[in-house]
Amino acid sequence: MTTVDRKPRLRSLGSTEMVYLALLGVLVIGAVLVAVDGGNLFGTANLVDMLTRSSLLGFVALGQTFVILCGSLDLSVGYVMALCSLIGATTMAGDPAKVPLGIVVVLVVAAGIGLLNGLIVSVLKVNPFIATLGMGLIIKGYLDTTYKGPAGEVPASFQQFGYSRIAFLPVSTAVMLIAVVLGILYLRRSRTGYHMFAVGGSQDVARLSGIRTGRVLVTAHVLCAVAAGVAGLLIAARFGTGSALVYSSGYDLDSIAAVVLGGTLLMGGRGGIAGTLAGVLILAVLDTVFNILQVDPFFKDVLRGVVIIAAVAIYARRQIDRRASRPRFGPGGNGGPPKDPVPDEPVPAGQGADR
């Protein structure tokens, strides 16, 4: 019935499909290149390599997705990882019996940091970019002061988490995939999950519908930090010890890139974890292919940069019509609701005037 249909606009496939298409493309191109080089991208070795690489970033990006969906951002994940790897390793102190304790402590600490992030952003209305950047610095100082280098020792049993694999599937990746599935369920099946989209879409609409936007935001940040914590545990398992220097490995920006690469809008309200997984895999495949092809390490950076921009540019093309006029930084932008009414998401009268 014409009255509900908008003027026929070319409906292309959803962004998630896009991303997986992109992933497929990368895989095919990669495979061809590797084949030309006389290798096999899907040989066990390379497969394992790809999956292993994806597991760590996978956890971080998974968490980052929640925050970004809410229109926020978390730049402290790298530091949380480092901290958690150390706390985990030092708590376990080589004693298999203490593994559960280590895990619990780590998750609790991580959750605590996430809680702080969330509160600073939602209650103190500090722009998430600065809030989490600051949190990162705070943790960094603590790390540099307290740990003069790698510390603690992870019992061999827990190292399995980092090294064992079922056929070509590393356990860490398996766990990551489980987490991803749970994450997807959480977004698609839990109220809070639903509300994250709402908060990211428009804090005002969310509020008018009786959603406690603050809580949702905090939850997202907690989940993000916890995911980073698990990444920290994985680090510990892989390293056999905790390492502070992890924070210099740029997982914060990488995870954001992966999420956006996964088709989630940086200003929130649209996207999902399925896409993020694809984003992570794309980056992992790139790394592996670059490695097999012996690409100069610096050239890798160039390519990564180009790929990220190009991909996001392609997604953007499909949304220019609706998104072009959307205020940047969205809800997270100034810590408060959107600056001014968005054409396709108006807010109650009287709102605009008070920004």
């Binding site: 014409t2 009255t3 249909d5 009268a349 005037a353």
Partner: protein, 499 residues
């Protein structure tokens, strides 16, 4: 018209007062809603309709006065409380998440759960049920809202309101954004709800709607209650008089004598694009032409076409005999056009910037070299508009709607344009400011500026116009002389007759 049994009173608002920044907006309003009635709330913009609705909706809290629901006194601190109490509101602006599905929007904030998980199936089913119930099964619950037409989104709004099984639904200009045929759809909905004993508070400017739909009408003026009467017992003219408080004619400045009309300043011949077709339009110096027609009939589209937003792909545009084809607002301004946009906050002002900065924005953007010199006249223009502000440094977001509009006008006057297009120039501003705008328009046309005014308020369409051009479905449906009556305009607009 089927009048439902007017029995129990479901809502009683008494002595509602509300003021913002010391400005009294509502002076003790009394309002009574009965089950199964459509109660129209009339009044000019700024009369306090929206504020009253928002008080009822729990968006604002009254400074004084009481609200009784079915005899029980209530106080809503939050819209949710109102909704849970059975009072739903369909705001003028949509409250939907375009990226989410219909069902997700309808049940936002209270998604049904099974074993702790959101029960999407049930949610979709329930939504489908609600839609079927209203005979709107054509809208799929799983559809993303951004893919729906304006009417579709409006419907989702109403369904959302209904889904709280509301006993009271207030609608703020629900037809404002609807195209003609869509309006009928809405009528049907409203009548159906009435049949079911829902009390509907219906705010509209369109006399036609009022008389088509409502059982009783309450008139507000300048934040005070004028009267509440059964719709049958009142004629349109009386109603208008109650609203305006004086005969319309005196409300509007006198027209200029025919003789004073100069040569054509704006000429559109055969203009057309995706939304428009065969637009032939002329505005002469000293002439005010008003564009009437329902929302979506192509009024704003013409303005946008002139301003290069969605430009004419067919036909020609001439300003002072010079052919122009603006690709952008910038070129339009260069060509001597000015556009006072419809949505002041979203399209008209940079709210965090100062009065002065906003007032000279066009100069700065389009004529940077002259802006320094030209801006000197701005204070003069502002004071001639009787702008009330704490000086040019004050950020416009702190100004009242009327004063904000004055800043927008000043911004355009500073460019002394040949043609000014005003899209709903008096929307949401108080009577005083309104009259100021009217006189200003006259002064301008007296100075030889060609004025094209777009408005949904028939009385102002008629009151201001030297000629009325009525649009329908993106075409010019007819042209009426000054002094036509509202019915005539409506008939042409709705295609009941073609003149």
């Amino acid at each position: 018209m089927a009048v439902a049994p007017l029995t129990e009173t479901v809502l009683r608002m008494h002595g509602i007062q509300k003021s913002f920044l010391g400005v009294q907006v509502l002076h003790g309003i009394d309002l009574e809603l009965r089950a199964g009635e459509v109660h129209a709330l009339m009044g000019e913009n700024g009369a306090g309709k929206s504020t009253l609705m928002k008080v009822l909706a729990g968006v604002y809290q009254a400074d004084a006065g009481t609200i009784e629901l079915a005899g029980r006194e209530v106080a809503f601190a939050h819209p949710l409380q109102a909704q849970q109490a059975g009072v739903s509101t369909v705001f003028q602006e949509f409250n939907l998440l375009p990226e989410r599905t219909v069902a997700e929007n309808v049940f936002l904030g209270r998604e049904p759960r099974r074993r702790g998980m959101v029960d999407a199936d049930r949610m979709n089913a329930d939504t489908a049920a609600l839609l079927d119930d209203l005979g709107l099964s054509s809208i799929a619950p799983r559809r993303r809202v951004s893919t729906l037409s304006v009417a579709g989104q409006q419907i989702v709004e109403i369904v959302k309101a209904l889904s709280y099984d509301a006993r009271i639904i207030s609608m703020d200009e629900p037809t404002a954004a609807l195209a003609e045929e869509e309006v009928e759809l809405l009528y049907g909905l409203v009548r159906m709800l009435r049949e079911r004993g829902v009390a509907i508070l219906y705010v509209s400017h369109r006399l036609k709607e009022i008389f088509d739909l409502s059982d009783r009408v309450t008139v507000l003026k300048d934040g005070a209650l004028v009267d509440t009467v059964p719709t049958e017992d009142i004629t349109p003219d009386e109603l208008v008089r109650k609203m305006v408080g004086r005969p319309i004619t005196s409300f509007f400045p006198d027209k200029l004598p025919e003789t004073s009309l100069g040569d054509t300043r704006l000429r559109i011949s055969g203009g057309g694009n995706e939304q428009l077709d065969g637009i032939d339009l002329e505005v002469r110096a000293g002439e005010i032409v008003t564009l009437a027609g329902l929302q979506g009939s192509g009024r704003t589209e013409i303005a946008h076409a002139l301003f290069g937003v969605a430009r004419f792909t067919r036909g020609t545009v001439e300003v002072d005999g010079k052919r122009v084809s603006p690709r952008s607002a910038r070129q339009a301004v260069r060509a001597g056009l000015a556009l006072v946009t419809e949505d002041r906050k979203a399209e008209g002002l940079a709210l965090n910037q100062s009065v002065a900065a906003n007032a000279r924005l066009v100069l700065d953007a389009v004529l940077p070299r002259q802006s320094g010199r030209r801006a000197k006249q701005i204070p003069g223009i502002l004071s001639s508009l009787e702008l009330v502000s704490r000086g040019g440094d004050q950020e416009v977001r702190f100004l009242s709607g009327g004063n904000q509009q004055k800043v927008v006008l000043a911004k355009w006057l500073a460019t002394d344009p040949a043609v000014i297009v005003l899209d709903e120039p008096t929307r949401g501003i108080d009577v005083g400011a309104k009259q100021k705008v009217y006189t200003l328009m006259r002064e301008l046309s007296a100075r030889g500026v060609a004025i094209l005014m777009i408005s949904s308020e028939l009385q102002e369409v008629i009151g201001m116009a030297d000629r009325i051009v009525v649009l329908r479905d993106g075409r010019i449906a007819g042209e009426l002389p000054a002094g036509t009556d509202e019915e005539a305009v409506m008939q042409v607009a709705t295609g009941q007759v073609t003149s």
